[in-house]
Symmetry: C2
Subunit: 423 residues, 2 copies
Amino acid sequence: MRGEGIYVLLLAIGGLALTLTSVAGLENGLARTPPMGWMPFERFRCLTDCVKFPRDCISERLFMRTADLLVSEGYAAAGYKYLIIDDCWMEKERNAITAELMADRERFPSGINHLSAYIHNKSLKFGLYHDIGRRTCMHLGPGAHGHYSIDAKTFASWSVDYVKLDGCYVDGIDLNTAYPAFGQALNRTGRPMVYSCSWPYYQNNPNFELIRKHCNLWRFADDIRDSTASIINTIFNYFKRQDNLTKHAAPGSWNDPDMLVLGNYHLSYDASRLQQAMWAVLAAPLIMSNDLQTVRPEIRALLQNRDIIEVDQDPLGIPGHCVLTSGNIQVWLRPVMPTNNIGAHSFAVAFANIGEHYECPLCPQTFRIILQNLGLSNQMGYVAYDLFDSKRQVGLFKPQDQFTIRINPSGVEFYKFKSEDIY
Amino acid sequence: MRGEGIYVLLLAIGGLALTLTSVAGLENGLARTPPMGWMPFERFRCLTDCVKFPRDCISERLFMRTADLLVSEGYAAAGYKYLIIDDCWMEKERNAITAELMADRERFPSGINHLSAYIHNKSLKFGLYHDIGRRTCMHLGPGAHGHYSIDAKTFASWSVDYVKLDGCYVDGIDLNTAYPAFGQALNRTGRPMVYSCSWPYYQNNPNFELIRKHCNLWRFADDIRDSTASIINTIFNYFKRQDNLTKHAAPGSWNDPDMLVLGNYHLSYDASRLQQAMWAVLAAPLIMSNDLQTVRPEIRALLQNRDIIEVDQDPLGIPGHCVLTSGNIQVWLRPVMPTNNIGAHSFAVAFANIGEHYECPLCPQTFRIILQNLGLSNQMGYVAYDLFDSKRQVGLFKPQDQFTIRINPSGVEFYKFKSEDIY
């Protein structure tokens, strides 16, 4: 790639910007870019019957198999490092003597420490689910209420790297004090743990300024499902609240639209592209929920697309926003590295076709735009790359030039516009 | 493959059976196996605006491009021979002097004879849409009412090989005499044309015995759409009426569940497998509706899967039927060649998972069956082949043996059980 020397210089500038913008966020030093990893819930739900569903039940076997596959199938090398156990891992009650949480003895016979070590030995990170209330959401395990300190210590003793804290069964509990308090308990252990909060999802008018001070990421929308409709709903949910959501995201603090569901059963190839591109443009965590053993090669290639992951993990950490809606088309724009020699950003631009075009609902829609109408104003222009096919370099475009694409129904085109130097 | 000598012998027996069962069908000698080809409607609808949609409009360009692609992409070699123009090809009115139908002059500037010759020069067959009533369904062109003879002659003069006759705008017209009359007009031209009738779709209690005497194939269900729900609805529609539908299918006369929509935008890979397998097990016409230029390689491989096409095109022409329902699983069984040395058929068996399994809606379901419970009773057993992966020969199974598979949600597993010889 051209301009590597400049890139290094500008990374330094980027690093400065990052320090300035994230000063109000949770300062545990973690999640400088959106976390990447794997979580079972969308795909494996709360399956506890290991006799009837030996391959699909929530058990140490599932997580050891997935740890192996994260490495052997190339996901870890692409950046997917966090293997996070979701709900349904606990015994129904705490230890009667110590009040500590316990993993289900039948499904985790080797114990959480053993599983944690297995995951760490693969150079992966280990995450665990918990709930701020009285029971976990699936009601199988005890919640953290009344036990913040002991639970944080238990997690630290298990070498947990990432905590997902849900918000079920919180009647009478003030989330605006409970979530910070649990976060402080985590901090007091001295072990750095990414802190993922479901906090705003359970509130009508969440105080994002407060949330970002205490959490590395936060869920703001419904649980994702394996369907195109669910992905599009999540995008629209973000769209409606984007002014409020985008301004609180920065290195160390991220909006979480929930898991990637690519590689399961119900998404078309176009819908799979749509989710991967949109999550990257939103600076969302890339946490897969699928059975890595049965992901087809072309979907694995999408999940491991290095150019798209680079957008998601851009060091500036500025989330994209929708700059233009035209019929069914939404254009989402994210400023990314590299900047040129006078500091103009490059841009990742997602053109999403998410509606039913009345004239031809089944036709790909042709969309034409003058780049400066999107805010791409660098007079030297931009070199455009198709992020789904980096071999296809599209050419140099000036702000006055028209950019024309054809976008499939429920699909997306995703380009990087690399800012050219002024001379 | 083993037993080729026997296969030849049994083809002769099969040929005998075929003559016996099809004696009541339309005897124009055509469609001895379900027609295979391409039709634009599901994908391109009635797009007539070639300025705004130059690539997608119904025009001779679309059909010449598709003819080229049928050959160059390997579809023709796999059996997809009929290129059929659906609605929206006509001028609004007949020729004022001769009363002949005319193709739209702007979108078909070279004329239908030129297009027909272009298609024939590629060793493909040429099909054309018409309507038995007063207007075509999209209301753009005149219907055949009052002009059967002249329209049949026009079609013959254009070297048409296949006529799709729709049933819109038929107020006051008796379909049970109109469809046979138009068929007779086709026959009188002396040109063999496959006769595809929408006849039963427009009736409450269609007389299939009559319909099969006059048509090579007939639509019985709603227009298909590019969605998993549409495919599953069509399968259930067939399922509910299968006793009536299966008994009228035979070489020369076929139930038509409408087009294959694989290769478009909204089907997952599993749903694409589902349609291809189910259409083959039902002995359905395999008429694609997609843009052949943008079908992805893995879907092209499904569409051109020779083992599945062989099931669809089986010379016995006995359609499959659902022999067993268990929760979400339907098991569909089609007797196919080869038969063994005492005349026992082989079977193509589709295991479809088309419902929401309440225990784990997102898990593949494990299904176990003793083969004789499906009617597979050949005491020497069957060699099982995975039709989606012919390299994977699964083994020899006796009637008392259990066969176990794992079927994805909205997915299918499809096996051939090849009947072994008795010695």
